[in-house]
Structure formats: structure tokens, C-alpha cells
């Protein structure tokens, strides 16, 4: 359960039995394929989730960047993002463990909707905790969860956002450890979550690696993935970690600036790998955004899915060891990349995903310095999700920033 000094199990005592039980189940079912768990998981991922997703050549981006740019199309997974890979795995695992109730927390609602879908598919009762403020901002996702039969429990304590929802879900789990599984949505939290979520998501790199060989006869020179908590990142990297010829780039949200206001406790970015420091958050030791006292800072990103003050411990470790290069892209460049991909490839990406394309533009685009950019001739970008969920934000943020390649937005004043 450790990645160097990172990882571990920093959780309330009451959760430890659940964690230990999960650890045991992880080893047996996920690592050991007991009762054919992994076979069923992979079959359901294919048939319900729509895997494998294509590794598609991006013709126009390949022209623009004068290299082979391939897109790993996780936006085509059922639900519109890689999130289902993990949610389906954990809900199925809970079934194998004999649990009969699923809980999860959600911020912007992506993990909640993926969990609700998986639960409907597998006939498991599902309750999602969500901050009241987030509920008001993400009504389409709340509606989706309810359509899929989940209960959405509003969390009104504190500021009514993700952090309060996490506490509330922990509290529920601590109260109902016997029959309930808590589906964590990223490669974060106490062991075995970071390893287990990585294993469920590693289907991304497993497929991409095979597809790269089929299409190009070799492994890619580099893989780019956006990084918030890091689940699509670890999923896209996992099977390439031992391939020294493939460079791995984790693109964090640079937000409006990398500077932090320690006194206000605010980091106007979510670049924990770049600007964070070692600490303990949500059950694991990892790299986090914190002030000098160790209080967690309020992070920011144009993309709510990247807006998290921590990062998975394994990713933090891989960055420390130099295997993964952490870079970051700010709100403006991400938004420009969002418009560019939509216009040039007919794929409206999630704002999260757009960060990875923003980095590609920065180092390989027309305004790049032209020096060796480290990406090589064959680049794979993980398209972690589709942008339909981000249309409102895209309108609002495009206005504020006056993105020059954006379409005329006049008729969208005031939103959709």
C-alpha cells in the first residue's frame, strides 16, 4: 500500500475493518481473479461500457504539430468519460464481497453519475452525497443520478461542497461498514483504493499499448493525460511505466496562476504535483496544496474535475522518481485548446481533457520555441471525457476571456 513514502492508510479507526476487508477482496478478486471477477469486469466493461475505445489518429492535429497525434477515446465510454471504468469495477467488487449498498461522494457530479449508472446496471442501491452548493451548480448531473435510481443526499454542513460531502460519506461508511461499500472516484484515499482504482483504469493503457503497436508498429514516444486526482492519468500511464522509451506527461490545471495566496488559503490552481508539498489528505500521504500550517488550500481550475487539492500517491511518487513529468496548463490555454479540438477534430472535449491538448499546443504548436519538446514523433493524448457537461462553463468562461479562436458567442450571453 506504499509508493515510496506515499500512500498508506490514514483513516479513522472505525473504517479500518472495512479497509482491511477491501484490501483482502482487492487481493483475491482483482489481483487473483477469484471467481472470475476480472473476467466478468472486463466483459461488462466491453458490453455495457463500450470498450475497447479507439486509438484514433487525429489527422488535423497531426498536420498542425507535424507528428503523429493519436487520441485515446475515453470520451466514448458509456457516460462520457473514463469514470465508469472504476465505478463499474468497484460496484461489481462490492457485489462479489456480498455488500448490498453503495455510497459515493461527488463534487461536480461525474463520479456520482458513473456510480449511479453502474449501480443501476448491477442492481445495487446507491446513495450519493453531494454538497448543497454543488447540487445547485450541477443540476443536470443530479437529475441523471436520480434517473438512474440513485438517492442524492444533499450535504448542507460547512460550505456545502466536495470536502463536506467526503466527510459525510466517510461518516456513512463508518456507520454502515458491514453492508456498505464506499466507491472512491479516483486513485486517492487510503490503500487499497489508489492501487485498485489504477488497476480498474489501467485498461486504458493496456488497450492503447496494443493499439499503438497495431497502428504504428511501436510504442508511442509520449503519452499525455490531464491530472486532477489522477485516475485517468494513472489509467493512461500504468501499462507504459515499464516502457522506458515512452515519456509520460501529467498535465495539471495551472488555473489562473501558479502563485498561491497562503494567507487567504487559496491556490488559484490545482497543480499539486507542480506546486504542492508532502502531506496527509483523505487517507493517504501524497503531494497536496497546503499552507505553511498544513491546512489544505482551496484549489481552483476552470475544470471542476481537476479542482482538487491533492493527487494520487502513486502519481506523486512517479513524479518524484522522474518517471512521470508533471507540467501544467492554465485556464486560458485549456479553454483555447477546448475550442481548437472541437473545431479541428469534431470532438468537444471535457475541460479537464483540454488541458492535455493545451500542453501539446504550447510545446509543439506554431508559437512553440521549436526546441526539442520531449514529446517525440508519436504522441498519444488521453481524451478522458467529453465536454457536453461543460457547455455552460465554456460559454461563461469564453466570454470572460475573449478566446480568439472561439466562435461568435453573442447569442449565448446568459448561458444556454
Amino acid at each position: 500500500g506504499k509508493f515510496g513514502d506515499y500512500g498508506g492508510q490514514y483513516v479513522p479507526e472505525a473504517l479500518m475493518p472495512a479497509i482491511e476487508e477491501l484490501e483482502d477482496a482487492y487481493e483475491r478478486y482483482v489481483l487473483g481473479n477469484e471467481d472470475g471477477f476480472m473476467d466478468e469486469f472486463r466483459t461488462r466493461l466491453r458490453e455495457f461500457g463500450g470498450r475497447p475505445t479507439p486509438l484514433q489518429r487525429a489527422d488535423r492535429l497531426s498536420d498542425r504539430y507535424d507528428r503523429e497525434v493519436y487520441l485515446k477515446r475515453e470520451d466514448l465510454v458509456h457516460g462520457g468519460a473514463h469514470k465508469l471504468n472504476n465505478a463499474l469495477g468497484q460496484v461489481l467488487l462490492a457485489k462479489y464481497m456480498g455488500k448490498d449498498r453503495i455510497i459515493a461522494e461527488t463534487g461536480a457530479g461525474q463520479h456520482g453519475t458513473a456510480t449511479a449508472m453502474a449501480c443501476a446496471h448491477l442492481d445495487m442501491p446507491c446513495e450519493i452525497y453531494m454538497g448543497k452548493r454543488d447540487i445547485n451548480r450541477q443540476r443536470p448531473n443530479v437529475f441523471r443520478m436520480k434517473l438512474n435510481g440513485a438517492e442524492v443526499n444533499p450535504v448542507t454542513v460547512g460550505r456545502g461542497t466536495l470536502k463536506e460531502a467526503i466527510s459525510e460519506t466517510m461518516r456513512d461508511w463508518a456507520t454502515n461498514v458491514e453492508d456498505t461499500h464506499y466507491v472512491i472516484g479516483s486513485v486517492v484515499g487510503p490503500h487499497p483504493f489508489p492501487s485498485m482504482v489504477r488497476d480498474f483504469q489501467s485498461v486504458i493503457s493496456e488497450e492503447a499499448r496494443t493499439q499503438a503497436r497495431e497502428k504504428m508498429g511501436r510504442l508511442p514516444d509520449s503519452v499525455l493525460a490531464c491530472a486532477g486526482g489522477g485516475s485517468n492519468t494513472m489509467g493512461a500511464f500504468a501499462e507504459f511505466v515499464d516502457d522506458d522509451e515512452t515519456a509520460l506527461y501529467a498535465v495539471e490545471a495551472g488555473g489562473s496562476t501558479l502563485d498561491v495566496d497562503e494567507d487567504a488559503g487559496v491556490a488559484p490552481n490545482s497543480a499539486s504535483l507542480t506546486t504542492g508539498s508532502e502531506g496527509i489528505l483523505h487517507g493517504a500521504r501524497t503531494t497536496i496544496l497546503q499552507d505553511h500550517d498544513g491546512q489544505i488550500m482551496e484549489s481552483h481550475s476552470i475544470s471542476s474535475g481537476l479542482d482538487y487539492a491533492g493527487v494520487g500517491p502513486e502519481l506523486a511518487y512517479l513524479v518524484d522518481t522522474g518517471r512521470v513529468t508533471a507540467v501544467n496548463v492554465g485556464d486560458d490555454d485549456a479553454l483555447t485548446a477546448f475550442h481548437r479540438l472541437s473545431q479541428m477534430e469534431g470532438i468537444i472535449p471535457a475541460l479537464e481533457t483540454a488541458h492535455a491538448f493545451g500542453y501539446l499546443e504550447r510545446v509543439a504548436g506554431p508559437d512553440a520555441t521549436g526546441e526539442h519538446d520531449g514529446l517525440g514523433e508519436f504522441v498519444v493524448v488521453n481524451v478522458s471525457g467529453r465536454g457536453d457537461k461543460d457547455l455552460e462553463s465554456a460559454i461563461e468562461e469564453t466570454y470572460e476571456r475573449d478566446i480568439d479562436i472561439a466562435p461568435n458567442m453573442d447569442e449565448f450571453t446568459g448561458g444556454l
Binding site: 498508506g8 492508510q9 490514514y10 483513516v11 479513522p12 479507526e13 472505525a14 479500518m16 475493518p17 482491511e20 454542513v157 460547512g158 460550505r159 470536502k163 463536506e164 467526503i166 466527510s167 459525510e168 466517510m170 461518516r171 463508518a174 456507520t175 454502515n176 461498514v177 488559503g265 508532502e278 502531506g279 496527509i280 489528505l281 483523505h282 487517507g283 497536496i288 497546503q290 505553511h292 500550517d293 498544513g294 491546512q295 489544505i296
Partner: protein
């Protein structure tokens, strides 16, 4: 006076408040009122921005305290400014302990805590598996490290914890996080039975909100009772109603006394425990 000594003269009453809730000055008054009400040990919360083990009552106290400007540095000043003589236990999350000072690791925080007169720690997100460095620092500076034993804790995990615990063991009365409840769980008795063989005071917490509860808990074998949310509720209600701090302090003192009296009454009703040392 060490923590264990506080259990010497009968059942210990251990109230909890978040330091700086809802503001520095009132909070000083409130903590002092607990001592007047009969506290034997006081657990002082140093608020952390992500209190994953707390229920809504204490989460909100944490928000109030942080918004009032509470920091680790202010917390130590707060302890120095407090006019109480009972032992103080600092309850906080590990990241604040780990990050304090220039070198990462718990030692600077423990050293500073010792210097202002803190006697021990409760760290809800630090299981025995990860507590080595903190235990070491506590030993160096002569502080106690309290562990929380859940109803589900047993076997190897319980042993590991009992090897490291000192001061007292915090017996979690039921599953779930903190919060005042109207009944006391059967799980408490079972937990106390499991702990019977260990020579350390057992203080029961989670969900105790009245003298009657306190009495039942102590009658069933607890060496002490820990009460948090019921007291924090008084602070919260006073804050919302805009009551002056003296009134709120009086209410805290009143409830504290009821709880202490309940605990004492419970002890007198207790059947003799031949197996206890």
C-alpha cells in the same frame, strides 16, 4: 498531573470543545467553564480544514474556528492563555502535526505542545500502523498518545494499538463519526469487555449527551466519559442566537456538571469488577 492520574479518584469526565469556536475570547471562557463544571481532562480541538472523522456538529465548529483565524500557532497561544489546571489533550488531524515547523515530521509540533503544557494527543486519522514517529516524539517529550478503539477493532489491530496507547483509550461507543445521540449503544459493553485485560483507563465517547447517559456508561464499566457534540451544540446555538458569552458559558458549565454528576453516580452503582487491577 498526568492523564492517567485524572482517572485515579473515580470516573473521569472529559469534555471536548474546538479551540477558537466561535472566536478566540469566547472560546477561552467556554473551556474554563468546563473546568468549573467538573472536567477532569479537557480535549481541545485544533481545527483542520478536512475533518474527515467528524459529524456535522463538529464540522461546523471547525468552520467557525477557522473563520475566526485559528491556526496551530494561535492554538498554542490559546493554550497558554487558558486559565485551567486540569490536563489538556490536543485533538487534531495528522497533517497539522506533521507539517508544523521546518522539518517535516511530528517532533516540532510535539515539542511545542509540551512547552505550552499539553499532556497528550488524540489524532483520529492516525491509525497505530502509521503512528510510530508520533509515538516516539511523545515519548521524548513525555506526552501521552490516546488511541480510539472502535466497536469493530479487535484481534491484531487492537493489540498493536494497545501497545502504543498511553494516558487513556478512547472507546468509541458506536459506529459512525461524532455526534450527540439519544441512546447509548450496546456495542459499548462489548468493547469494554474486549479491553478488560488491558491496564489503561477506558474513556467512552461518541453520542453521550446527558447525565443519565453518562451514568449508564460508567455503570457499565467505563473509567471515564468523553462528551463533544452535546457541548459544541450549546456553543453553536448560542452563537446563532447571538447570546452573550457569559450565558453560553453558564450553560456549558451546567451541562458539564450534569454529565460529571451522572458519571459519578454511575460509578457508585457499579458492581465490583474482580478482574480489574
Amino acid at each position: 498531573m498526568s492523564l492517567e492520574d485524572a482517572f485515579a479518584d473515580g470516573p473521569a469526565f472529559i469534555p471536548y470543545l474546538a479551540a477558537g469556536d466561535p472566536d478566540y475570547e469566547s472560546s477561552l471562557e467556554y473551556v474554563e467553564a468546563l473546568e468549573r463544571g467538573g472536567a477532569d481532562i479537557i480535549e481541545l480541538g485544533l481545527p483542520f480544514s478536512e475533518p474527515i472523522a467528524e459529524g456535522p456538529t463538529i464540522q461546523n465548529a471547525v468552520v467557525r474556528s477557522l473563520e475566526g483565524g485559528m491556526t496551530p500557532t494561535r492554538f498554542f497561544e490559546f493554550v497558554e492563555d487558558l486559565d485551567v489546571s486540569v490536563p489538556l489533550v490536543c485533538m487534531t488531524y495528522y497533517n497539522l502535526i506533521y507539517r508544523y515547523g521546518d522539518d517535516h515530521g511530528p517532533r516540532p509540533f510535539v515539542e511545542k505542545a509540551a512547552s505550552v503544557g499539553i499532556e497528550g494527543f488524540v489524532v483520529p486519522d492516525l491509525p497505530a500502523e502509521e503512528s510510530g514517529p508520533l509515538r516516539e516524539a511523545c515519548d521524548e517529550f513525555g506526552l501521552d498518545l490516546v488511541f480510539i478503539v472502535a466497536p469493530t477493532t479487535r484481534g491484531e489491530r487492537l493489540e498493536r494499538m494497545m501497545e502504543q496507547v498511553s494516558g487513556y483509550v478512547y472507546v468509541q461507543a458506536r459506529l459512525g463519526t461524532t455526534g450527540a445521540q439519544t441512546d447509548v449503544s450496546d456495542q459499548t459493553g462489548a468493547s469494554l469487555d474486549r479491553l478488560a485485560g488491558y491496564d489503561v483507563p477506558k474513556a467512552v465517547g461518541f453520542g453521550i449527551s446527558s447525565g443519565e447517559h453518562a451514568q449508564r456508561i460508567v455503570r457499565s464499566g467505563a473509567d471515564g466519559i468523553i462528551v463533544g457534540s452535546a457541548l459544541v451544540d450549546i456553543v453553536a446555538q448560542g452563537h446563532e442566537a447571538g447570546d452573550d458569552s457569559e450565558t453560553v458559558a453558564d450553560r456549558l458549565e451546567t451541562l458539564a456538571r450534569e454529565l460529571k454528576d451522572g458519571a459519578v453516580a454511575g460509578a457508585s452503582q457499579r458492581p465490583p469488577h474482580p478482574e480489574r487491577t
